[in-house]
Amino acid sequence: MKKLLLGNEALAQGAIDAGISGVYAYPGTPSTEITEYIQKSKIAKELNIHSNWSVNEKTAMEAALGMSYAGKRSLTVMKHVGLNVAADVFMNMSVSGINGGLVVVVADDPSMHSSQNEQDSRYYGKFAMIPMLEPSNQQEAYDITKYAFDLSEKFGLPVLLRMVTRLSHSRAGVTTGKRVAQNEIKLPKNERQFQLIPMHARGLYNHLIDIQPDLKAHSENSFYNELIKGTDTSFGIITAGIAYNYLMENFEDGNCPYSVLKISQYPLPKKSVKHLFDTCDKILVLEDGYPFIEELISDFLDENKKVIGRLTGDVPRVGELNPDNIGKALGFKVTESKETPKIVSGRPPELCVGCGHRDLFNAVNTLGNEADSQKVFGDIGCYALGALPPFNSINTLIDMGASITMAKGASDAGIHPAIAIIGDSTFTHSGMTGLLEAVVENTKMTVIISDNSAIAMTGAQDSSASGRLVNLCKGIGVDPGHLKVLTPLHKNLDENIDLIRDEINYDGVSVIISQRPCVQLSKEKKDNIKHLLEIAIN
């Protein structure tokens, strides 16, 4: 019988059935459920598949590469912006290549449902010159993941598997197949493969260039790139990943009269594209994310207007695709519909009732009223909601860890008080190096680690920082006299304001740990955190 799975869960089951020995990941919407599925899987536990959360995406991808070095199959998972963090290893492991199959799953977030941009990971795949896959539905998410590991081992390269929010977070019935046994330890044949000193790297890079035609040829003949011939030649349509579904939704029972090239594997298969180009009047490109394919096949000099899509405005330039904006691009009349009545107000997300971040923002805002010059540098997590009313506490929010380093630069420029607010897990993800920089120069700034002992925004996963923050800060060299811990509760408001005021007036770097577990945590988890903190104190 079919199993009802999210796209993410289907992918995860595919990875288990492909014989992975480990998944390495940092939570991030819309990718989180992939790793969680493996963590909860009974069979994964029996097989001793590694699935604990990593500290960040870079450490995750490097650990996955280490497992691949040993000859075993590994999966690494992140959201699109996570790949920026892991870009260093990502670009270099395409040069070294892999040993055991290695698949990099990146979940993009067109329309920025839970992200700060809608960057398209396919550019990274092209940048690294590795094979890329993009499933169009839940069943394909399962099948293509198994295929991805074979492809990775066939070419000795990592494979990038791109998901998008709507596929990650939509369920459908999925038929699963047989599970492949895990690889045994088997070290690389060529000792130099993983030693990227320039004299080795040049040869390996040449090899990567040399096999590009092979990757293209494989893609030309791939089962996952299908040219479906139609009868009406006024349009030829190229769809990438889930765009195919939205296209077919516009035709009764999916009976599309146009020729359709359904793409799920890259590099782009040139022959099929050329066939479409030669036999149709116009080429409509439908892809979620950036106009990646459209840009590749468009005419730079605009002398030939054959290709239309996001760049030409026939499809909206930004935001995700849907059946309606594709119908419009096909020239269909928009279905008549009602409007949302004017009395309906917006309901943006908000911090939970009883959340410790609320009490922290209340204290910080009181100090902001005392000093107009105060600027608060925020970071990625639930507390980013402090940028919205009723708090309006945060002045900046850019990327993981940027609160501390931006506060430092602003302080260097003469902004005081400069306060960084960063979560516990974001601090261990990307904040520690910035703090070291501030400590080295004893920059006049205050770092507040809002420690709820969880990666809360993505579903309260375990944080690597739990019970370790005080010792980490001491180890980095923060003056113990200016390393304070407070409990963000309404009853402590006045004393918390006094404590923070003292530290922002200090002429050097100070750290305040605002410590109260996330209200979403179970009692069991809260007790465990208490235990960890006790150990840390002793």
Partner: protein, 199 residues
């Protein structure tokens, strides 16, 4: 046979539970399903929705096109109206009447109810009270599912079996309370429909 359902409410109100019941019942009835949902940032006290599509044929899009939803089931009255552009002409509206007040500019309740009642096919009920009277205020969502059930291409047996499957690990009492909630919702909707026909 094809049905498109929008589920609406505020993060934490049990929308995904309604979706799970529908999915499980449809799967057991050998039907195809696609059901998209919202995870991540928007879940925190914000407006959330789920698109549920059930058909005996292949379903392509995970998202329901504008003007193609057969019904909207909402656990909150204002959230119901947010998704009206998806509703097809004469589509069904099913909602709980109790507002979830976590925003400054919530509309006047009477105006909200008047707006909802201006659509002929509506079931506006105090599902929360019905669930509470049955001794399980957490079953508000299942009361609403019951109220919509006569318009679903799923048998009562398959839905009740799905409720059993999904709530089993919470104990038999919870299963029974939810089945009662489902039946009560169905009964009340039947009354409402019969009165409307007479009028």
């Amino acid at each position: 046979m094809k049905i498109n359902i929008i589920l609406a409410g505020v993060g934490g109100q049990g929308i995904l539970t309604i979706a799970a019941v529908l999915d499980t019942a449809a799967l057991a009835s050998n039907l195809n399903i696609k059901q998209s949902e919202v995870h991540g940032m928007s879940q925190r006290g914000g407006a959330v929705q789920s698109h549920v599509r059930i058909s005996d044929k292949q379903i392509f899009s995970d998202l329901i096109p504008i003007g193609k939803a057969d019904m909207i089931i909402s656990v909150e009255p204002m959230e119901l109206l947010r998704y009206l552009p998806f509703l097809k002409q004469d589509g069904l509206l099913v909602t709980d009447s109790n507002p979830f007040l976590n925003i400054a500019k919530y509309p006047e309740l009477e105006k909200l109810y008047t707006e909802i009642k201006s659509y002929p096919n509506n079931i506006l009920i105090d599902a929360q009270k019905i669930a509470k009277d049955l001794g399980n205020s957490r079953a508000t969502n299942i009361v609403l599912l019951g109220a919509a059930s006569s318009q679903l291409p799923l048998s009562d047996e398959s839905i009740q079996q799905a409720i059993k499957t999904l709530f089993e690990r919470k104990g038999e009492k919870v299963v029974m309370k939810n089945i009662e909630a489902f039946k009560k919702g169905k009964e009340i909707a039947k009354e409402i429909f019969s009165k409307k026909v007479i009028l």
